[in-house]
């Protein structure tokens, strides 16, 4: 009986026949989600619509963290306008953004959803009458309340996003985040672009600061669909690249956090350290962010003994100096005063909104794909993720420091196993994909869980591609973090998450 409701897949990436995905009645589907989410260690990986000619298949993938498996199940609805479904969000809030996305793209209504707001205003949205300038912001009436709008141009001219605060004096009652300014049609382009190289470049550009995370997810997916797994040596190289990216991003964020609290010394020291790390990646593959390093089938830039030595040397330097500066930071009263008890998100809140990655771990919620659904070289080593319970800015900053330490240790372990023979496979442009299949690939980027899913058609062509960046879940955590905080602490909270705008907007 249970077997019929869902398919349980082990491993990561996973692949299955499209026709094998169980199709449930909607009531049954909702019941199943209720049952599954009773387990605290289960979370929704992705929930999306695969549109066919006359029907739409709603595919849901659930990750079981302890059993290390992925459950796949679906329901089908006729492709008609104005379809109404009972919302899952009313019982499981973590579905809110998935249902909003489906509503926006296909015009499907969800009864009982708190507010089906647009997510990113795609070009082919169902309701063309809604526009970015007329976003339906939440408002509260009150004599003493005032609204503050920030953006869409960021004060530091990074990426665009609009933040609307409702404040009572200096205190924030509510923050609403409107995104979508960076929408580029990534998912459609995956289908439109025909060659593997084009798609690989596309995957690298999903979020510039998570180049390796996304291209690893994409590479793994294609290699699984094409049935051309890479060698263990290649997997090691990718894992090293991923951890280098994590170290660079975490140190860079630590610098930015120091900048926001006007601690100049911490800022400049960490900035300099980040440069050492990204320059290491540059020496390896010619690009500081690792563009071009990971391609389906292999790599153009093998890990040579010289690069290995360089990584070891630079890591030793970074480790020493980073330990020194963080030791100083985390003992300085003026810094701690800006970190502790600011922007607190509880474990319960994190669970409710379905936070992933760092945002979850900083609230004591253990969610790490490297540990729950190990991929590539992470299968062979002991990964013990760090989680801190306090959920404030301190916890998010401290988590970065601890993760940098772990990542450095991991890279050393990987390098020990790597033979540096330079005889790894080279990328291929010819990779016939398995027909009528569904595949899913997960990686743990530095922000958290990255999920790529693909569906192939009769001739092995891509017919549907779905990307989920961790920021998709985690923006809500930021909105919760600043509640009842001072509005002046918002930039600090924002930086302590450092979520991706373009990863969300796709």
């Amino acid at each position: 009986m249970e077997e019929r409701k869902y398919i349980e897949l082990t491993g990561n990436p996973v692949i299955m026949e499209l026709s094998d995905i169980p199709v449930l009645e909607y009531q049954e589907f909702r019941q199943l989600i209720d049952d599954l989410l009773k387990n605290e260690r289960a979370h929704c990986l992705t929930y999306f619509v695969y549109p066919q000619r006359d029907r739409r298949q709603f595919i849901c993938c659930m990750g079981m963290d302890v059993k290390h498996t992925i459950l796949v199940f679906s329901h089908e609805q006729a492709a008609m306008n104005g379809l109404l479904l009972e919302s899952i969000t009313q019982r499981h809030f973590c579905f809110h953004v998935f249902e909003r996305e489906i509503h926006e793209n296909y015009g499907i209504g969800f009864i009982g959803h708190p507010w089906l707001k647009p997510v990113r205003f795609p070009f082919d949205r169902a309701d063309q009458s809604i526009t970015m300038n007329a976003y339906p912001f939440y408002s509260i009436d009150g004599e003493e309340l005032h609204e503050v709008g920030v953006g869409p141009i960021h004060a530091g001219v990074i990426e665009p996003g609009y933040f609307r605060f409702i404040c009572h004096g200096e205190n924030v009652l509510h923050l609403e985040i409107q995104l979508g300014y960076q929408h580029r049609g990534i998912e459609r382009n995956f289908i439109a672009k025909s060659t593997l190289l084009q798609r690989a470049i596309l995957a690298e550009s999903i979020a510039g600061d998570t180049t390796i995370g996304h291209s690893m997810a994409f590479g793994g997916l294609m290699e699984t669909l094409g049935d051309q797994p890479v060698s263990p040596q290649m997997s090691l190289e990718r894992a090293i690249a991923l951890e280098l990216e994590r170290i660079a991003a975490h140190i860079g964020d630590t610098a930015a956090i120091c900048g926001d609290i006007a601690y100049q010394f911490g800022q400049v020291v960490n900035e300099a350290l980040r440069t050492i790390v990204i320059n290491t990646t540059q020496r390896w593959c010619g690009n500081r962010f690792g563009k071009g390093l990971i391609r389906p089938g292999g790599a153009h830039y093998p890990l040579t003994p010289e690069i290995k030595l360089l990584i070891l040397k630079n890591l030793a330097e970074v480790e020493g100096r980073f330990t020194q500066i963080t030791g100083r930071m985390f003992t300085m009263p003026s810094v701690l005063g800006r970190f502790e008890a600011i922007g607190t998100v509880t474990a319960q809140q994190a669970k409710t909104i379905g936070a992933v990655g760092m945002a979850a771990r900083s609230c004591g919620l253990m969610r790490d794909i490297r540990w729950s659904h190990p991929f590539g070289a992470f299968r062979d080593i002991q990964v013990d993720p760090v989680a801190l319970p306090s959920g404030d800015v301190w916890s998010r900053t401290m988590l970065r420091k601890l993760e940098v330490d772990r990542s450095i240790a991991m890279i050393r372990e990987f390098l020990e196993r790597h033979d540096c023979m330079g005889a790894t496979e080279t990328p291929t442009n010819n990779m016939p994909l398995r027909q009528n299949s569904f595949a899913l690939s997960l990686t743990e980027g530095w922000r958290g869980e990255i999920c790529h899913a693909a569906i192939t058609g009769d001739r092995g062509e891509l017919v549907h591609y779905k990307v989920k960046d961790p920021s998709f879940h985690n923006w809500m955590a930021l909105a919760l973090a600043v509640r009842n905080q001072e509005i002046s602490d918002f930039p600090l909270c924002n930086k302590s998450y450092n979520l991706s705008y373009c990863g969300n907007d796709l």
Binding site: H146, V148, E170, D260, F265, V268, L492
Partner: protein, 302 residues
Amino acid sequence: MGLLFCIVTALFFPGIILRVKSIASGRKGPGIFQPWKNIWVLLQKGNVISATTSFIFQIAPAVYLCTVLCAGLLLPFPGFSPVFSFEGDFVLFAYLLALGKFFLIIGALDTGSSFEGMGANREALYSMLAEPAFFILFGTLALLTGHTSMVGIFDAFRFTGPDTFIVGFISAYLLVQIAMIENSRMPVDDPKTHLELTMIHEVMILDHSGFDLALVHIATALKFGFYGGLIANFLLPVDWSLPVQIISFFVIQVLFALLIGFLESFRARKKLAKNPQFVFTLSSIALVAFILVLMITYKMLG
């Protein structure tokens, strides 16, 4: 005399702070006069004035600069009287600066921007809280010296015994802290930030541009120089020869700028909600000095 030297100080003051912060962060940093070169560029530019503003917004920078200059006329130099001097002139000094600030604040409110409203609100609050500290301090000094004009107080104050050293030390500390608050430096404000939501002074002048912005920058630099001048005045005795006095005046000013630069490089800014508490402690420290002086002059426990 005092005004002249303070203006000279103001010329290199912002540059020194900037340079110190640059060097402390491992960079070479811009030249000492870079802030003034920027102001020169701004002076040649035109203004962009928001359509929602009234004349208040347009006169605010000029009024701000005027009041700061007027306040400068009251500034003595050890052994020399200022342009104007009378009994209780420090009250006028404080309120001239407050008047300029008031115009800057209503100019900021005039724009109707939510950011500027917040910044104006914060600036007004901190100035208000710092005010008692300033007056208790000067009241204390007046009580100790028996003079009520700035030149009288500064000339009569001498470091003679342990009691005056204590009062002098507390007063110098307070003057430095008040100067930091009034000039929107750390730990209360962060002049370097680009984030509107955390700004105080910077956000108030967000809508000013070109010539007006230059006026605000000039006034801010001068104000800093004047506070530095006040501190130097307080510390320097009258009976030194003029060249020694001039040299030590500039030494004190440079040390003040260096101190600010270093303080800002190696510490974090305070949480905004803790600022009022911090500013208010200055008033209580001033009260300590006041009680101390009451005891010294046998007006209390006598």
